[in-house]
């Protein structure tokens, strides 16, 4: 029932109840206070005032009584007696005034007050007589009179006054008792009401507080869980009040956050196909999420392209603080540079690997060749070893033959001498031949002169033939035969001329031939001269040869000994070559392994090149 009301209504209702209670209590208290006041004023006006007035009456009577005594006592001193009489009179006035007051206020029986007044009137007469006696100086009569009458009157008045006083006291006591009773009743009522109000206020406060705080506590707990990021909390309320609205709104917030959370979870799991639709224009979170998905999609596309090897893309950072974009950009750039460098390195590596392969192949082949060469060398060394033995034998034979050679050289020198003589004979013959040939050349010169003459004759014959032809033409018909003759003559002349030119060319050839023959004989002569010289040199050479054969026969002896030493050296070389052979075998094996490694390297490089070529850099 309470929870169906709005909080304001609830508070208003509660406070209204309390205020009503307060008004009730206040009114009650005010009424009681007013009753008390009435009682007090009544008490003051009646018993209290009467008592007071009677007491004053009593006091003044006492003072009057004392004054009368003074009057009697001080009758000799007129002045003092006058003062006392004045005082008695003022007190008498007071008494009357008070008696009037008391009579007015006294409740109930007023007769007693009237009695007091009558008594007072009687006393006054008595006093007058006394005072007059005192003034006449009859002090003893005065005292006696006073004693006789006054004392009695005063005692009577005292008794009356005391009676009135006693009545007045009883009335006052009655009043007090009534007032006290009234007060106790009011206190009790008020106390009960206050207690009731307190209990009611407590109940109302508890009810309202409870109706407000319970949903608030739920909301605070939900908000705490939300603050810790727990969106699984279920918030809902069927209450129509503000808190209900608040809780429902929070429930929507939680739902929205849960949706966002799921979307974010999908994004976190890498699912970028989510469609984020902002809830409103002001949905910053939704728009940010949408932008984030779009940006992530772009980045994912770029990453796809990079993954497929396309490094030409330029990633643009969404903002200067776009760490992912900047990282992507830097990554792409670095990848591109890296790929460039790798490509260069791969190219260099390819060249190097190829070179290594070539070199290793060459090395392998050269190692194989070395191995072959070493085995050949080994064989050669063996051969040399045998040859050395042979050399030893041969050098011995050479030594023996050197002796023979010396004798042969001597014979050779003699032969050379005789050859020199023969050559000198040839030289003389050559001179003779040259002379004859020169003679022939001179004779052919003479033939040439004759031929020139013949050619001149032929020329003249030709001219003559022309003239004859002219003459024949002049002779007309008779000269016809002559013209034929002239033509014949001309032909003859022409042939003669041709013949002379042939002869002249033959003579030119003969002259050339003779010149060549003369030159040849001259060369022959020179050759003979050179032959003589060479023969002399040969003779000298043979002599030197003989000497050197002597030397060589001596050297041959040394060769024999050194050949034996050589044989020992050859044995050592054979052992050394054996070691080299083993090393070479190892070398071959090693180079084969290197070749295999280089081939692997080359294949690896090919693979690397294929990999690198998969990246598109520019």
């Amino acid at each position: 029932m309470l929870s169906n009301l709005k909080i304001r209504s609830r508070l208003v209702a509660g406070f209204s109840v309390l205020v009503l209670f307060l008004i009730l209590i206040g009114a009650l208290s005010l009424k009681n206070l007013a009753a008390e006041g009435d009682l007090l004023s009544e008490f003051y006006e009646h018993p209290f005032a009467v008592t007071n007035a009677i007491q004053q009456v009593d006091t003044n009577i006492t003072r009057m009584h004392r004054g009368m005594k003074d009057v009697i006592l001080y009758a000799s001193d007129r002045e003092d007696m006058e003062a006392s009489i004045a005082e008695i009179e003022s007190c008498e006035k007071n008494v009357y005034r008070q008696l009037a007051l008391a009579r007015e206020r006294v409740p109930g029986d007023k007769s007693k007050i009237d009695q007091i007044r009558e008594s007072m009137d009687q006393w006054k007469v008595v006093r007058g007589k006394t005072i007059v006696l005192a003034q006449q100086g009859k002090v003893k009569e005065a005292i006696a009179f006073h004693k006789a009458y006054a004392r009695r009157t005063v005692a009577q008045i005292d008794a009356q006054v005391n009676e009135v006083l006693k009545d007045s006291y009883s009335i006052a006591e009655r009043f007090a008792a009534e007032s006290s009773k009234n007060q106790r009743f009011t206190f009790a009522i008020t106390a009960v009401l206050v207690a009731l109000a307190c209990i009611l206020a407590a109940v109302i406060a508890f009810a309202i507080t409870a109706s407000i705080t319970r949903p608030l506590t739920d909301a605070v707990q939900a908000a705490d869980r939300l603050a810790q990021g727990d969106v699984s909390v279920e918030i809902g309320s069927s209450s129509p009040d503000e808190l209900g609205q608040l809780l429902r709104a929070m429930g929507k917030v939680v739902q929205s956050m849960r949706g966002m959370g799921e979307t974010a979870n999908r994004i976190a799991l890498g699912d970028l196909d989510v469609e984020v639709v902002p809830l409103s224009e002001a949905d910053v979170f939704g728009k940010a999420m949408r932008d984030m998905v779009a940006s992530l999609n772009t980045l994912a596309d770029n990453a796809d392209r990079i993954a497929s090897g396309d490094l030409t893309i330029e990633v643009l950072a969404a903002s200067p603080k776009d760490r992912l974009g900047n990282s992507f950009q830097a990554m792409t750039r670095n990848l591109r540079e890296l790929t460039f460098e790798i490509a260069e390195v791969v190219n260099v590596l390819a060249g190097s690997a190829a070179e290594i392969m070539t070199t290793v192949s060459e090395l392998a082949s050269s190692s194989a060749q070395t191995a072959t060469s070493i085995s050949e060398t080994n064989a050669t060394v063996q051969e040399i070893r045998q040859t050395t033995d042979l050399t030893s034998q041969k050098s011995r034979q050479v030594y023996e033959s050197a002796h023979r050679s010396t004798q042969i050289a001597r014979t050779g020198r003699e032969s050379v001498n005789s050859a020199i003589g023969g050559m000198q004979g040839i030289d003389e013959r050559m001179g003779f031949i040259a002379e004859r040939i020169v003679n022939l050349s001179e004779q052919s010169q003479a033939i040439g002169e004759i031929i020139a003459t013949v050619a001149d004759l032929a020329e003249q014959s030709n001219l003559l033939a022309v003239n004859a032809a002219i003459e024949a033409a002049k002779a007309g018909e008779h000269g016809k035969g002559f013209a034929v003759v002239a033509q014949e003559v001309k032909n003859l002349a022409t042939q003669s001329k041709q013949a002379t030119s042939q002869v002249r060319s033959i003579i030119g050839q003969i002259q050339k031939a003779t010149t060549a023959a003369v030159l040849a004989t001259e060369q022959g002569s020179k050759a003979v001269e050179a032959g003589v010289k060479q023969s002399s040199e040969a003779g000298e050479s043979i002599r030197q040869l003989a000497a050197s054969i002597e030397e060589s026969s001596n050297a041959t002896l040394q060769i024999v000994t050194s050949t034996q030493e050589q044989a020992i050296g050859m044995d050592q070389i054979a052992i050394a070559i054996q070691s080299i052979n083993q090393a070479s075998d190892q070398n071959v094996e090693g180079s084969r392994q290197i070749e295999a490694a280089a081939r692997n390297l080359y294949e690896l490089n090919q693979k690397l090149q294929r990999l690198v070529s998969g990246y598109k850099v520019a």
């Binding site: 020329e459 003249q460 001219l463 022309v466 003239n467 002219i470 033409a473 002049k474 033509q487 032909n491």
Partner: protein
């Protein structure tokens, strides 16, 4: 070492020598070759007859002058002779080379190239003189060499081409297809420039 003689085959050389001597002594007539030669000449002679039978043929003497072929009609020619010696004439035109003695007659020698005022003179042997003349005038014409007599058909003569410019144009009767220039000798002989009459003080 066996001593080997030179590679000359002396026996062969001597044999060749013998053959050469015999060839020199033996008579040079060869009946077969002579017969062939005579036949050839007869054939050529019979060929020459044909242009003469044309009737309009001009008998002329062909000669060379600085490589060019010229011809002069035989009727103007007295004789040809070698240029043995001549005497230069002072105060004569440049085309007059000099005078010479022809069997007791004094004739002047004319250099046709200078007469034709050909600007560039080619190489020349100039060792033949063709004596031309008619009833009024007689002089020798210089030639490099004489080719011989021939007959030129009047129909073969063509008008002088443009290359024959200058003074010689008027003295050329015609040119054959073989570039043989037939000189109009009658006009040359009649030319007044040929008559040199100058007195030098």
């Amino acid at each position: 070492m066996p001593l080997k003689s030179s590679s000359i085959d002396w026996a062969l050389l001597l044999k060749r020598q013998e053959a050469a001597f015999q060839a020199a002594v033996a008579p040079s007539d060869d009946p077969v070759r002579e017969q062939a030669l005579l036949l050839e000449r007869a054939r050529q002679l019979s060929l020459k007859k044909e242009p003469a039978a044309d009737g309009t043929g001009i008998d002329c003497l062909e000669f060379l002058l600085s490589g060019e072929r010229y011809a002069i009609e035989l009727s103007y020619i007295a004789a040809t002779l070698p240029l043995t010696d001549f005497t230069p004439l002072f105060c004569a035109p440049s085309f007059v080379l000099g005078i010479t003695n022809l069997r007791g007659r004094i004739i002047s020698i004319v250099d046709l190239r200078r007469f034709f005022e050909l600007p560039a003179l080619g190489l020349s042997d100039l060792n033949r003189v063709i004596v031309v003349g008619d009833e009024r005038m007689e002089f020798g014409v210089l030639a490099d060499s004489i080719v011989g007599t021939r007959s030129v058909s009047a129909a073969d003569l063509l008008p002088t081409p443009d290359t024959f410019a200058g003074p010689r144009e008027e003295f050329v009767a015609g040119v054959t297809a073989e570039r043989l220039a037939l000189l109009d000798m009658g006009r040359i002989l009649a030319d007044p420039r040929m008559v040199v009459h100058e007195e030098v003080g």
